[in-house]
Amino acid sequence: METDLKLIDENGRRLDGRRPDELRPLRIEAGVLRRADGSAYVEWGLNKIYAAVYGPRECHPRHLQNPQRALVQCRYNMASFSVGDRKRPGPDRRSQEISKIISEALEHVVFTEFFPRTSIDVYIEVVEANAGTRCAGLTAASVALADAGVPMKGLVASCAAGKVANTVVLDLTKEEDNFGQADIPFGLVPRTGEIVLLQMDGDLSIEEFTQGVEMATRACHQIHELQKEALRRRYGVAAGEQLAAGPEEAA
């Protein structure tokens, strides 16, 4: 798409004033819903996203049960009022694809072999969207899984990079996504450096792609700290606060 908008100005600043490698304001809260086993809420730029986890629980439909491991079934959905032009309720092909790649990203870190024949159901609801919702959703889902006590190798943090006005940038907004030249949704296990979500569309040289991935990787480490803080706050604990592990050890 063409635009007269100056996506990057003479000082290297973007439409919202950010530098190319800056994240939008990001806030994470764990344990926001009562019924779900685990939950999280993320506000990322103008994105507002809930994630909820039920499970491990009996796998439905039964014919999908795996006798050796749990299934991780993610359902990503956008509320009809989450976008400028109202979206018809219900899954469309884009939502189904995103559900699939997020399930796969999470499957990699969950110790699924501990819960054969069950399903770990992850629900992601986008109630307000402004680009980067799959990354924000995966980031939220990871916190929700920890909040539900699901055993994992580590948390997953996710953020997109892209190219706008011939410059590699981090964390695109809706305008940048619409008028930009490339988009790289990216998800990482910060502890190990394993990439569990990776997509790309647009036009990028290999150097530009590498730059984008490096930017996204650094951002994921920042995001990981926010995820951990959210979980600590949820359990009412400041880092370093001492707790009792059990009745033998406390009054």
Binding site: F114, D147, G149, M152, Q242, A244, E249, A251
Partner: protein
């Protein structure tokens, strides 16, 4: 115990999934995994060391059945020679007619227990694919009539029981209620209505503050205040 006492060696920090753990000479226990060089936590919880192994005591999560555990189940289905029991874990457990204290003829199961009944039973076995069987054939196991059922995360059960049963003893004497705590996080209470409500309040307090220091004093204070009068 005074809350102003210096941090005792037994108190621990909250750990998150993927966090590296200091583990000189310790083996990995529950909630801990190794990548060959280093131990890490797999669940959100508190470090605990027992028998030279490093465990994480989870703060949340579903109950995973362990043979021998006494649990409180709910009947969710009735078949001709068995019932299906929900024990608040990812796996429902079948209960066969030869595992109950009565003689049950084929097709007569509904005469003894129906959907919605609560029972005290024991986890008899768990196989490699986590198929669980429960039994009621043991001293004390029975159908639970009357009373009230309360659910807490199973990770808080040790706190409700307390060291050598000290906390549950406090609850029983402080409320004059009969209280049975299932390992799966379900608790059955019976007694005078006002006292049962007080006991539930105390249990919710324990649930909220399970891993903080000074809990016993708070519970004592709550019980000492006595039951609130029911509004008219």
């Amino acid at each position: 115990m005074s809350e102003t006492a210096p941090a005792r060696p037994a108190a621990r920090e909250l750990v998150l999934p993927g966090e590296a753990l200091e583990a000189k000479g310790l083996r990995p226990g529950a909630g801990v995994f190794s990548d060959g060089r280093q131990l890490y936590a797999s669940v959100l919880g508190i470090r605990s060391v027992r028998n030279n192994a490093l465990h994480i005591v989870p703060l949340v999560g579903r109950y995973i059945p362990v043979p021998g555990d006494e649990v409180i189940g709910k009947i969710i289905d009735v078949m001709s020679s068995s019932w299906l029991v929900d024990i608040h874990s990812p796996y429902p457990a079948p209960l066969h007619t030869d595992e109950v204290p009565w003689r049950v003829e084929f097709g007569e199961t509904h005469k003894f227990m129906q959907v919605g009944d609560a029972i005290l039973c024991r986890v008899a076995s768990v196989d490699e694919v986590k198929r669980v069987r429960v039994t009621m054939q043991d001293y004390g196991l029975r159908k639970l009539q009357g009373g009230l059922l309360v659910e807490i995360p199973h990770s808080k059960v040790p706190r409700v029981i307390g060291k050598n049963g000290s906390m549950i003893g406090l609850l029983k004497t402080g409320t004059q209620c009969r209280i049975i705590v299932g390992q799966n996080g379900r608790i059955w209470l019976d007694g005078e209505l006002d006292h049962v409500l007080l006991a539930v309040q105390a249990i919710r307090l324990i649930e909220a503050e399970a891993h903080r220091l000074g809990l016993t004093e708070k519970v004592k204070a709550l019980l000492a205040a006595g039951p609130a009068p029911t509004p008219r």
